[in-house]
């Protein structure tokens, strides 16, 4: 705003905001790319990789993320500590059961630039498995981001009116029973 004094304008431009994302029924990759963009500060026109300009991002309901395809069974997260015999491979389903925030955490870690600022950006990412958020984080939140994927409606969520207005595509023969 042009009515601000110079110091107030400077303060407002470089302020660090807190974003909230609801990850219910969302693909974790899309959530992670939104998070990485905002943690780096790439959504601001004043971006520069050296100026520490990223914002905080809070992701809730990470327990309820939805993978497309058969990725819960096919996607494998591998790790090796360097010691012999410590090669661990976990499917996404097993990983999620062990730690509901791990999938999004690893996805965001892989999407951030591979330099020393990555660790500070990960410290600014806050993941919560359910929609219970601590009070001090709730007080800091400034904006909620829209969900990337449109959640499809179940058949039970359609009203009887909508079901009636949808036309029948085919007429069953008169003597056919058992629908």
């Amino acid at each position: 705003m042009s009515s601000f004094s110079r110091s107030a304008q400077q303060w407002a431009t470089f302020a660090r905001s807190w974003f909230l994302i609801d990850a219910r029924m969302q693909p974790p990759g899309k959530i992670a790319s939104m998070c990485s963009v905002r943690l780096q500060g790439k959504h601001k026109p004043i971006y520069h990789p050296l100026s520490d300009i990223g914002d905080h991002v809070v992701v809730m309901n990470t327990r309820h993320i939805a993978f497309s395809g058969n990725k819960w069974e096919q996607k494998v997260y591998s790790s090796h500590t360097g010691y012999p015999g410590s090669f661990k491979q976990l499917t996404a389903a097993q990983m999620h059961k062990k730690d509901p925030t791990a999938i999004i955490k690893l996805a965001v870690y892989g999407m951030l630039p591979k330099n020393l600022t990555r660790r500070t950006m990960m410290q600014r990412l806050h993941l919560f498995p359910d929609d219970v958020l601590p009070e001090d984080i709730l007080k800091n939140l400034t904006e909620e981001l829209p969900q990337p994927r449109e959640i499809p409606r179940k058949l039970s969520e359609y009203t009887q009116e909508e079901r009636d207005t949808f036309p029948m595509l085919w007429t069953p023969p008169e003597d056919y029973k058992m629908k």
Binding site: Q74, F166, L169, P172, Y176, K179
Partner: protein, 209 residues
């Protein structure tokens, strides 16, 4: 129109109050009226209205099949397959549950092609979409009936959410070695039968993630 027929039958019943069968007729017409209160929700057999004919000492109470009327006409009535009749080819997806629910039984299985009149390719596509909708949990009421006294296994709470699953959940193996970029083992999403679907964005549909 159905209500009018029921009212007419009710009027004929009220005129012949003296006969013993009048109570039965009244009960049947009341029954008929209660059935028609959910008109158009489950059109499995032809809708019938009760008609009472009296010839001397015999009263004939009949359920006459009503000709179905007031139906919206399809834009292409000459085609053989219902999807082509309504110009829905390449336009439906696993999320269009209202469309898919017209071709499934109450326990979730597909209706036979000779009954629905679908052509082979569209029947296959609808079967694939129904499978994907079941796996995404969009058809919660179309479950197979469980035998009596069956105790289901304790399932993980909350269940894993998924969508566009091509293969059955128990049949898929984890990809332990994905390979290098030029020979990567991709994870399949969606189904190639739906690759001709209309996309309203410039990005193409990716089936291999």
């Amino acid at each position: 129109m159905a209500a009018r027929c029921v009212m007419q039958s009710a009027r004929t019943v009220l005129r012949s109050v003296q006969s013993d069968l009048s109570n039965k007729g009244l009960f049947q017409s009341i029954l008929g009226f209660s059935q028609f209160s959910f008109l158009g929700s489950v059109p499995c057999r032809g809708l019938r209205h009760v008609v009472e004919k009296k010839e001397g000492k015999t009263t004939v109470i009949e359920g006459e099949i009503e000709p179905t009327s007031e139906r919206p006409q399809p834009p292409n009535p000459t085609a053989a397959c219902p999807i082509y009749r309504w110009n829905l080819q390449n336009k439906y997806n696993y999320t269009d549950v209202l469309l898919l629910s017209q071709f499934i039984r109450s326990d979730g299985g597909m209706l036979p092609r000779r009954i629905t009149g679908l052509c082979a390719q569209e029947h296959n596509k609808i079967a694939i979409c129904v499978q994907m909708a079941h796996r995404a949990g969009l058809l919660p009421d179309h479950r197979p009936p469980l035998p009596e006294g069956y105790v289901p296994k304790p399932k993980p709470n909350p269940p894993l959410n998924r969508y566009l699953t091509r293969y059955s959940v128990t049949s898929v193996k984890p990809i332990l070695k994905t390979g290098l970029k030029w020979c990567k083992k991709r994870m399949s999403v969606g189904h190639p039968a739906l690759k001709n679907n209309v996309t309203y964005s410039p990005k193409p549909l990716y089936t291999k993630h």
